[in-house]
Amino acid sequence: MRFGVVVFPGSNCDHDAWYAVSGNLGHRAEFIWHDSTSLGNADAVILPGGFSYGDYLRCGAIAKFSPVMGAVKKFAQDGGLVLGICNGFQILVESGLLPGALLRNRNLRFVCRPVTIRLETTNTPFTCAANPGQLIKVPVAHGEGCYFADPRTLDALKAEDRVVARYLDNPNGSLRDIAGICSEGRNVMGMMPHPERASDPLLGSTDGRIILESMVRSMVAAHA
């Protein structure tokens, strides 16, 4: 499987995502520069964490205008898998590919620590390899990770089984403890925790692999 990792100016988890896919999981990963209008022959796309455009204006607000985002939207409409991690999640909500917004953490401070999240559904290409209700331990590292949406949207997300992960120990004040959601078509997911930082046994946890492995499994199934 071929993963494309988009590099915006200010992305700083691009290499980590690339390494988790290629170094830890043994799949192919290539970088895609933000002013490219094509995703090449990527089977799945990762929007990595970081501070695209320095988080100026709002997190993700400028990145959505990058040429590459046109290609990402098209790819998503055609059913391609798009995973947004941290800043990538922020870009996906700013781009309208996912509903809601990510606000400053409730205590107004950056937070970096391992959190436990519960995978709420296995009915997504990002969690299909997990057990129902599986708990995984992955780090968060963000200043603006407080998920916010109006009650109707939150109800709809729940009703449509689109809340992919919730925090057991909410680090940022996210409404209804939401850590990750997926699109209506279920092929676009955004999450604040960093699965790519929990994919190497040396770093203390490989819990994050389940996300990337699920993506691989669903792509293999689709290709079969």
């Binding site: 100016p9 700083n12 970096c112 200043g143």
Partner: protein
């Protein structure tokens, strides 16, 4: 503005053969400031050891470089941003991080770790507590802001509170980067006719005279110096990093240097001086943020996120293409010449002309008087103090104290895991990052102790080096090289200068002994406010190497394991107890001398513990440091795992539990005999203290003098309670905003 002394002005006149104009005077003033020229310390810094088989680049460049094998190397250095952080804590600390990161990547290395040693006045100080809390919060937020956005993990350091930092906080930032040997670059303007290229942020009026501000004491007027503090943009720095490394890979870059302190002035003349060339630039070509800047202002601006590079003539376009890809300014502002002079033009008119070598390397050198005892105000003799009525309460007080409590509140604001190399982050004895390409890991320890050094600068400095090396050994790493940050008061006062000289000599002795040459560092003098100096505060940053593997960490892992003290219980007398945390926190006193150090013995303990770890015998490992054995034991208790300990000692309980004698490492193991064998082979003591057990930490004495008497229980406390007190103390003092 000229801060040149009359003798310095005379030297300038002799060099130029004429009167300097205003721009030239400004250039000499910053280059010959204490901050840039080390004129008070240079003579003594020469005493430091700087060589070993591993040292590829020693002091004098932007950062020192050490060989780590397989064609790879690391670059690292520590630097202070004390004065700016007092005036404007957030930006002061942020630009401190930015400056040291540029030092690392200007050499071609990609930064992979940052550690910070930060010092403030007490948070509960009746007069300055509010301000100290504000400074702490600002500094931490500034470090987080810059490092997190840049994408470098902040993975360790120390936070210390003493009254002497009330008016003069210390912010020392250590950074480390990795690269291949063939990727090393130097700040040299080689090749006559080669273009001199300015890259990065535009030049503004910010930070003018930052270097000279950092070379003066604080007075009531210092707050007016806020415009002297630079403003950082970590996003710009991230782009600059990527662009610089990419440009270096084109092969078109000849030399490169950060525009840090003294900005364009320092980078031009130093690059010329190192290469033995001249540099001619025209200021009209310098990208400027505001209009109407004078040559003086452009030359002295300390605007952040700028670099000066020299490219191979004819290959400029390759360099420009990379910078334009990253959306950055890159402009040819001049060229390398053969006359050895820094020639500054403005729209073609010469506004300054100074020989590079004299400007950069022949700054005045002062042998400041120091022929007296270093200043100290603590008494030598120990006060009488009664036997503690509640040792449990003493231990809890220590665990809750500012210096010893968990710094979780601070480091959770730092991204510790970006770049996925962090094997051990904040809170361990040493921080560890792996090098993905080689299977080697790098361990780092940053440590200072103003308390010890104020009692004896020489002994204190030696203890610091020993402590850093012990921290590294406690995670299994072999110490290989060091950097230091010397924070002192006004060197024009002989009793302060004596502190500096003694501390440098102490560092030199210890670094020679532990085979950790100094590859660079920073001297920060004039740390005084309203005539009151900080304690002498050298801070060491030492790096070690180990094979990449899951780290041995502090907490006990399992019950029924033997708890051992490698190095033995140590010895102490009343005089040597006066610098301990117990004396500070429980007795509120300070006296005497720091703990006694036997460097030969210390080194053997390091060798022994590395061997224990290499053989996989240690389930947990923790250096015994501030707060002594009882605190080290309490810190090893976690997740409900405690220990039952019996100390076979004739010392009074306060001494036995809380003395800070060096050369001791606490481990837990299931193979005590194998550990004892290694200890014997290395001729060091190794004492079985007890066993791990669930839920409680109990420490009793096991008297040898009166056989038959029942042991006396000194400490008995639930692990959960110890943990709770230790983890929440800092947060409680800062009264955080509640999370909804």
């Amino acid at each position: 503005m000229s801060d040149l002394a009359p003798s310095e002005l005379a030297k300038v006149q002799a060099i130029l053969g004429r009167e300097p104009n205003q721009t030239e005077t400004g250039i000499f003033t910053v280059m010959w400031s204490e901050h840039c020229s080390y004129k008070s310390s240079r003579l003594h810094l020469k005493k430091l050891p700087t060589r070993s088989n591993r040292v590829l680049v020693g002091p004098g460049e932007n950062a020192g470089i050490i060989d780590i094998g397989q064609g790879y190397a690391i670059a690292f250095k520590i630097e202070s941003h004390n004065h700016p952080s007092f005036i404007e804590p957030f930006q002061g600390a942020a630009t401190g991080v930015g400056g040291i990161l540029r030092d690392i990547f200007s050499m071609g290395a990609r930064p992979i770790a940052v550690l910070d040693a930060i010092r403030f006045g007490p948070l509960d100080d009746p007069k300055s507590g509010d301000r100290n809390r504000r400074i702490l919060e600002g500094v931490v937020e500034g470090i987080a802001h810059y490092g997190n956005c840049f994408g470098v993990p902040t993975i360790g350091g120390e936070t210390v509170f003493e009254r002497c930092y009330n008016g003069n906080p210390l912010v020392n930032v250590f950074a480390l980067g990795v690269f291949r040997h063939d990727e090393i670059f130097f700040g040299r303007a080689s090749g006559i006719g080669n273009p001199v290229i300015y890259v990065g942020a535009k030049t503004g009026r910010d930070g003018i005279h930052g270097a000279s501000m950092a070379s003066a004491e604080f007075t009531e007027e210092s707050k007016q110096k806020r415009p002297n503090v630079q403003v950082g943009d970590p996003f710009m720095e991230k782009l600059l990093l990527e662009a610089c490394l990419e440009a270096m890979h084109t092969g078109a870059v000849v030399g490169i240097q950060d525009m840090g302190a003294a900005g364009l002035t320092c980078s031009t003349c130093e690059m010329g001086s190192r290469a033995g060339t001249g540099v001619e630039i025209d200021l009209a070509r310098v990208p400027q943020r505001e209009s109407g800047m004078t040559p003086y202002e452009i030359m002295l601006s300390e605007s952040q996120e700028r670099m000066l590079l020299v490219a191979e003539k004819g290959r400029e376009e390759e360099v420009f293409a990379v910078f334009h890809k990253w959306g950055l300014d890159a402009v040819t502002i001049g060229e390398v010449t053969g006359d050895g002079k820094l020639r500054v033009k403005n729209h073609g008119v010469v506004v300054a002309e100074i020989p590079n070598r004299e400007l950069a390397d022949e700054a005045p050198l002062y042998d400041r008087p120091h022929g007296m005892a270093p200043y100290r105000d603590a008494p030598m003799e120990a006060p009488e103090f009664p036997r503690s009525r509640d040792l449990n309460a003493d231990l809890l007080a220590l665990l809750a104290s500012g210096d010893l409590c968990s710094k979780r509140w601070i480091w959770q604001q730092y991204d510790q895991s970006v770049r996925t190399n962090t094997l051990q982050g904040p809170g361990g004895d040493a921080a560890i990052v792996r090098i993905k390409e080689t299977g080697t890991s790098v361990a780092m320890s940053v440590d200072g102790n103003g308390r010890y050094c104020s009692l004896s600068p020489r002994e204190g400095a030696r203890l610091l080096v020993a402590e850093c090396c012990r921290n590294l050994s406690a995670v299994g790493a072999l110490p290989v090289a060091a950097t230091n940050n010397l924070n002192f008061g006004n060197p024009e006062r002989p009793e302060i200068m004596a502190q500096l000289v003694e501390a440098i000599e102490g560092i030199a002795e210890a670094c020679s002994h532990f085979e950790t040459p100094i590859t660079g560092g920073n001297v920060s003098l004039y740390n005084e406010t309203l005539g009151e100096a900080i304690w002498p505060t050298p801070v060491m940053g030492i790096v070690g190497l180990l094979k990449t593997a899951p780290p041995v960490t502090i907490p006990f892992k399992d019950e029924g394991r033997t708890v051992m003290l490698l190095g033995g219980l140590g010895s102490v007398d009343a005089t040597r107890f006066g610098g301990t945390q117990y004396a500070k926190v429980v007795l509120n006193e300070m006296w005497g001398l720091p703990p006694a150090l036997d460097m030969d013995y210390e080194k053997r303990v390091h060798t022994a513990v590395r061997e224990v770890i290499a053989q996989g015998l240690a389930e947990s490992s923790h250096d015994v440091g501030d707060g002594g054995l009882a605190v080290a034991l309490a810190e090893s208790c976690a997740e409900g795992m405690g220990a039952s300990i019996a100390l076979d000692t004739g010392l009074r309980p306060e001494f036995a539990l809380f003395h800070e004698g060096p050369s001791r490492i606490l481990i837990s193991t299931s193979e005590p005999e194998a550990v004892e064998k290694i200890a014997r082979e290395n001729k060091v003591e190794c004492v079985r203290l007890g066993v791990t057990m669930k839920e409680r930490l109990q420490i009793s004495n096991a008297p040898v003098t009166e056989p038959g008497t029942p042991p006396e229980t000194w400490i008995d406390c639930r692990v959960e309670r110890l943990r709770e007190v230790w983890e929440n103390a800092l947060e409680n003092r800062l009264s955080p905003v509640p999370v909804a």
